[in-house]
Chain length 354, copies 2
Amino acid sequence: MATITDPPTPDSDTQRPTLKTIAAATGFAIATVSRALKDAPDIGEETKRIVRETAEQLGYRPNRAGVRLRTGKTNVIALVLSTETDVMNHTSRLIYSIANALRGTAYHLIVTPFFPDQDPMEPIRYIVETESADGIILNQTKEDDPRVRYMHDHGFPFAAHGRTSMGIDHSFFDFDNEAYGRLGARVMAERGRKRLLIVPPPRAHMYARHMTFGFSDECALRGLPFEVSQDITSDSGGEAVEAAIAARFHQPNPPDGILVGSTTSAMATIAGAESSGRVLGRDFDVVAKEAIAVLRRFRQDILIVREDVGRAGEFLARALLAEIEKRDWTDRQGLEVPVKVEQRPPGREVEDKT
Amino acid sequence: MATITDPPTPDSDTQRPTLKTIAAATGFAIATVSRALKDAPDIGEETKRIVRETAEQLGYRPNRAGVRLRTGKTNVIALVLSTETDVMNHTSRLIYSIANALRGTAYHLIVTPFFPDQDPMEPIRYIVETESADGIILNQTKEDDPRVRYMHDHGFPFAAHGRTSMGIDHSFFDFDNEAYGRLGARVMAERGRKRLLIVPPPRAHMYARHMTFGFSDECALRGLPFEVSQDITSDSGGEAVEAAIAARFHQPNPPDGILVGSTTSAMATIAGAESSGRVLGRDFDVVAKEAIAVLRRFRQDILIVREDVGRAGEFLARALLAEIEKRDWTDRQGLEVPVKVEQRPPGREVEDKT
DNA sequence: CGGCAAATCTATAACGTTATAGGTTATTTC
DNA sequence: GAAATAACCTATAACGTTATAGATTTGCCG
């Protein structure tokens, strides 16, 4: 039984509009529509207007395969990167490892960063709507992430670097930041620290919550005083962190153990604390997580937990391929659990005895 | 007048083989060839063998646009990256800036890193042969770079991050490492340093030559003793550099001013020198070039020259588009000339008086 | 030896686009 | 008023691939 107005079946209008669609809608021939859209001289102004408007309204986007097949134009720029000389950081390592996992497959990797002035949904919508990829890998998930919801709702294959908590069961790889928080708290407690502080990443991020929870809970279990400051959140440059930490160390009861999330905040935190004359390793400890090898040289006495981003990239690529090929694969959700803290070289390490 | 055997005109056989080509060569129908190549059950074993061999021999590679148009399969994985929280390093910054410059154009960016176990020519050949991109951006050029020669010979649009010296006039953007070498030498000389040393990047790289030449020449002009060590070359982790510098500082006549190329080598160099008890800024200076903001926090007294990789990416994207669209654009070759050295904050700087 | 199935191959159409040649009006020219 | 011209539009083919339905050949059974 159909209702009076056509109830838009979720998938009825899912077909992307083509030149044909526009031709049908306007009554012009396909060729005319094509030429009108490229502003050819032998098409009437009025026709162009109509065609353009209909195209706009239907959300027409040229099919790249069609164009490419006909014209030979790929509309692709390849960036061929040498991995020879480079301190690989988090992002490039992720890219390299995904690309590496894709070697030997038929897949190409296109990279679509989105910028602060942009809606995070924009690239996702573009890719899904124009079907310009078979699947998407995304990073820095939020607790309630609209991108994840969108792709899930559209049945579009994806894998996320990071988890979400919105009741959607999706492929992901994540560093276990809760375990990291616990581990950091534990190690500092065992080193005799009495008052801990956490510098959490921006709160919207999923990993910030995990990290903060693990840290707080471990401290609470041990009856150890701790602070989760509202003012001190890591910023990209670290300027704010440095200032805030410096300020905190000039107040009474300063912390003697700090847990931070990234290389940048570690350096900023230490700089801030040192500004009060205190010495790392003697007067206070810092536990940091890093994917690159920078911090050990920065200060010998920093406590480092290593994150293997390469493993994440590899896992995500494999999981996504499984999604795309609809294999029912069990290993679609992976967690990297940190178990050790690297201390002063050479390699005196604290093993986890859980 | 044709010679007896068809003289393979450079471009006569340039056409990529398609299923049609194989069909013609084997006498089978196109459909048969297609099915044979996918190992369909209703094709005879002998046929499959013949088809596969011919395909192999002709170097057949399926046309992605054809497949995509017919099947809807893109064979593309999209990596959607947040740029929000990240210390952008050299590589990711380059990627971001290129992607950003491509926003609003019809172009997609595919990333193809190549790894140490791989022939650098492999990705280039693949892209050119399969026409899977309209143009290529490549980095870390060598003095005589086969990739550049190949693309130039094939008339394939490209732009290089870095120059070459093989008599080919191509699009590039480069940091002026010669000027950097000179500037570093000059600043240290002006600070009263008496014996300089350079830690050059691996010699095959173009920028290593530029840097070394500028440094050496400037020292020579000033009559300043300097060393271009054969043993000390920057390695990716910096281990070798640290050891070599440490060794050098335990010998007579150690340098009191060192020029290095990267963030990593700067840290390694300083660590090595400090192992002999010397103090940066008092007993020796280090001039380093960096694209990220790490070194200032590492040691306050380091002398920093900043490289704007974002500008490189933007320029390269623009230049490549001009190449592709065959616009005769004058700005196809760009140079970033360093003019200042950042010293201890806040912002006491040495301006170039050239 | 007719008939039937299996094995193997082929013709055709379609995906979405654009270049080309051609068609239809209306308008101008002599 | 016939012919030429301009203005605007359309039909068709092709790019390379694959799914589908159908064609041909071969072997086997009764």
